[in-house]
């Protein structure tokens, strides 16, 4: 493999791995803040136990997210120095702001929250929890604004072959970023919600701590149902926006090769696994649905890959401007499939909840555990789609991926770091999984027992 391919694999592996923990942490931080607020308001002990139990799980996810996050901050420079030189004037700003505005708050107040039980007043301690929850969301905003600039560059001009910032507000309030933020935050809530449901279901099946887990279920099930609907709706409008900004990506998602009026929504298709197959070998579709979803009219026009490619060749010069269609097509379907599965599952749970039968529904409780992997598959698919669907560009329309990597870094060096990070991350995943399950099995601690709740909560220390 070439240095470029290795650098791409490295970015993909480290980023997807990092993003297992990101939505889980953001979502769980919010849930923990809500549980602690409930405890603060009602004084009911089971909310305190819920706060501390879920807080413990959040901290495991937090630790991995923070540890793998440093790699993210460094690898733009390490593996993608040409990219960094090209975009630094713009891309660095939201990254630095993320650190100054969000990471400092997050890390400092997380420390205060973990170790501040009994040392801070209850109210200040609760505020620390909210500071953590809100700063994790804020950090997501900045990094998504940076990523959105790669999807849809705004507020810049070209100078000396580099992009130069001309309008910071345009970058921070890029419409692409606003949609991406809403979509990602809802997905984070969805992720945490599915994990809450899975863990609660496992405990309810054993009849353990029913007050804590029954309470969690009553919040988590409607939360997942609503978040799933909202994620899909926002995703839909995001898709329409993307059709304007990156028509090629959406054409690849639908595997529409030729411009059509009244295009069908493809459910299952096969083609050749290369960037631009001639056409599809097999296709099962719902007639007119894609046109209707995208344009609002059953006979609306959907532009095809071949036409867009021809247009880009005129605009950007000779070359192939098509992503790997099969990857875009299946990652998009993977994301949506998981989303609808979660939506259906949560709707069923909500119905059971309203009938008062959730706790007795053996099948719901049994399915909840394996289904808690769905949000992770969905967000991985989402990122694979959004990043690989943009290829061959790293910054859409401005910089191609094949010239963005570091000229001074050899393939051998990347092999070392690629294998090193992959092994390290693999080992950490196994250990973190074990620790997570152990914390789940241990269950919520009795609030009154531990003399220093901070010690019990942190456990690590």
């Amino acid at each position: 493999m070439t240095a470029l391919e290795l650098a791409r694999w490295q970015f993909g592996i480290t980023t997807l791995y990092h993003f297992i923990f990101v939505p889980l942490t953001i979502g769980l931080a919010l849930c923990v803040a809500i549980f602690q607020t409930k405890w603060h308001r009602t004084g009911e002990e089971h909310w305190l136990r819920a706060t501390r139990f879920w807080g413990k799980l959040m901290l495991i996810s937090f630790a991995l997210g923070v540890a793998t996050g440093i790699v993210q901050e460094f690898q733009f420079g390490m593996d993608w120095s040409n990219y960094s030189r090209f975009v630094g004037d713009i891309f660095g700003a939201p990254l630095a702001m993320e650190g100054l505005a969000a990471f400092f708050v997050e890390s400092t107040f997380l420390g205060l929250w973990i170790f501040g039980w009994g040392r801070l007043s209850k109210k200040v301690h609760l505020l620390c929890c909210w500071a953590v929850a809100l700063s994790t969301a804020l950090s997501a905003y900045f990094i998504l604004a940076a990523n959105s600039w790669m999807q849809h560059p705004v507020g810049y001009r070209m100078a000396d072959g580099k992009a130069e910032l001309t309008n910071i507000a345009a970058v921070l309030f890029n419409n692409t970023a606003l949609y991406a933020f809403a979509h990602t935050m809802l997905a984070a809530v969805l992720t945490a919600g599915m994990v809450l449901i899975g863990v609660s279901a496992w405990n309810l099946r054993q009849g353990r701590e029913t007050s804590v887990f029954g309470g969690t279920m009553r919040i988590a099930v409607p939360m997942v149902a609503l978040a799933a609907i909202a994620t899909v709706i926002v995703g839909h409008f995001d898709g329409i926006l993307m059709t304007k900004q990156q028509p090629m990506k959406m054409a690849a998602a639908d595997a529409t090769f030729n411009t059509e009026h009244g295009a069908g929504l493809s459910l299952f298709a096969t083609g050749d696994f290369k960037s631009n197959p001639e056409g599809l070998n097999r296709n099962i579709e719902i007639p007119n649905l894609l046109s209707w979803i995208t344009t609002g009219y059953p006979k609306g026009e959907i532009r095809g890959i071949n036409d867009i490619n021809a247009e880009y060749q005129k605009k950007y010069g000779p070359g192939n401007y098509t992503p790997i269609v099969a990857v875009a097509y299946w990652s998009w379907r993977g994301m949506l499939g998981c989303a609808f599965a979660m939506l259906g599952f949560a709707a069923w749970g909500w119905w059971l909840l309203r009938k008062g039968r959730l706790r007795d529904s053996k099948w719901f409780l049994r399915l909840a555990v394996p289904l808690s992997v769905l949000p992770f598959i969905a967000s991985s698919c989402g990122w694979v789609f959004t990043e690989m669907g943009r290829q061959p560009w790293v910054v859409f329309g401005l910089l191609k991926t094949d010239v963005a990597n570091s000229p001074s870094v050899s393939a051998a060096e990347i092999w070392i770091t690629l294998v090193g990070f992959t092994l390290l991350y693999g080992v950490l995943a196994a250990i973190a999984g074990r620790v997570f399950l152990k914390a789940v099995k241990k269950g919520p601690v009795e609030a009154g027992k531990a003399e220093d709740p901070g010690q019990e909560l942190a456990l690590a220390y």
Binding site: S84, G88, G92, L100, F104, I114, A159, T417, G420, A460
Partner: protein, 365 residues
């Protein structure tokens, strides 16, 4: 015509401050991490040690993240050349930091001696590797590395490992170790505090000696004659490092101020030496990267200046508040397991002289 604008100088200074903040803060938690087994004898003691840095280390590490992000924003060419050039060294640092971060979190999540010993070693190695390599890295930045006319690094990892750089690495390793030991003696009570103080007493003199040797070398080896400003700061740093070695047995508080100032001025001397460059080329002086050649546009720098002016003071306030909240000394007694009467009898037997050799009472679990 100087090769820089006022805004570029502001950002060079600000990025320097971020690195200084990182080294003076994370410096002590590197030291504490390295000393976990040397100072802590049983689980209660180790837990107490972890509690001295538990609420702080993550916030300390963010100084690094922000230094990286700020360099990317203000001097993208510096960020690109440095991070791609020092590729494998940074990889080792990253692995160290990752292993260390999770070791704090996972140490207490298992009870077996093997589990804990494993994470303690992860903590030690994960702290020592970055503590050493940051010194090696900064020594190289000041010393100069092979860089061509396209701002690309042309060497390998081994070009970074020459005697001057290795001396710099040993200097930072020893300084952080001393800093951590002094911090522990300041933050712990009883046996823990005594042991930390004894270790600080032993490592402070070599830290001062190596630090001063490195600074002397830096001052004398400066391209184009001695840089007076850098030399003055280096002298101040030398005084602080010696003061730390002297004060360490008398007053932990004053010794901590001395190690902190010693580390800060050590790196100030390096930054002053580097100015007005971001990277020095050992290939040709014509390829040295100036602030101007490395920098973002003045619009970006202006935006970032406003952001930094608004946020940095706030960050300093709440981080200072954290240190205030967690100012109390900790002792192993706060973290002991509940003892059964049998344990108490055993402990008394040990106290009556059956032997320190058998290890303290807490190690039976």
């Amino acid at each position: 015509m100087p090769d820089y604008t006022a805004l570029q100088v502001v950002w060079f200074v600000l990025i320097s401050i971020l690195w200084l903040g990182y080294f003076v803060l994370e410096g002590f938690d590197f030291g504490v991490g390295m000393l976990i087994r040397a100072v802590g004898r049983d689980d209660a003691e180790k837990r107490a040690i972890l509690h001295t840095i538990g609420p702080l280390w993550d916030g300390n590490e963010v100084w690094l993240i922000v230094a990286g992000g700020a360099t990317f924003a203000a001097f993208p060419q510096w960020y690109a050349t440095l991070f791609s050039g020092f590729y494998l060294a940074l990889f080792l640092i990253l692995v160290g930091l990752i292993v260390r971060n999770v070791s704090f979190e996972f140490w207490g999540k298992g009870e077996s001696a093997r589990w804990r010993r494993g994470w303690e070693w992860a903590m030690i190695v994960g702290s020592a590797v970055p503590a050493l390599l940051w010194g090696v890295g900064w020594a190289n930045i000041v010393h100069g590395v092979p860089i061509d006319g396209h701002m690309e690094y042309t060497g390998t990892l081994f070009d970074l490992l020459h005697p001057y750089a290795l001396l710099g690495g040993v200097a930072t390793l020893l300084m952080f170790l001393t800093h951590g030991a002094v911090f522990l003696s300041l933050r712990t009570e009883g046996d823990l505090g005594e042991r930390a103080r004894a270790i600080a007493g032993r490592v402070a003199p070599p830290a001062a000696a190596v630090g001063i040797a490195f600074l002397l070398w830096t001052v004398l080896a400066h391209r184009g004659g001695v840089d007076v400003a850098s030399a003055v700061v280096a002298v101040i740093s030398a005084v602080c490092l010696v003061a730390a070695a002297v004060l360490v047995r008398r007053s932990a508080g004053r010794a901590f101020v001395a190690t902190a100032l010693g580390i800060v001025t050590f790196f100030v001397a390096l930054f002053v030496d580097l100015f007005p460059h971001t990277m020095v080329s050992s290939t040709s002086a014509a390829f040295d990267m100036t602030l101007n050649a490395s920098s973002s546009s003045s619009y970006t720098l202006t935006v970032m200046t406003v952001v930094a002016a608004l946020l940095v003071p706030v960050v300093l306030v709440y981080q200072a508040w954290t240190y205030w909240v967690f100012r109390q000394r900790v002792s192993a007694a706060d973290f002991g397991e509940v003892r059964s009467p049998l344990d108490l009898l055993a402990a008394r037997r040990e106290d009556e002289g059956e032997g320190d050799e058998l290890g303290p009472a807490g190690s039976r679990s």
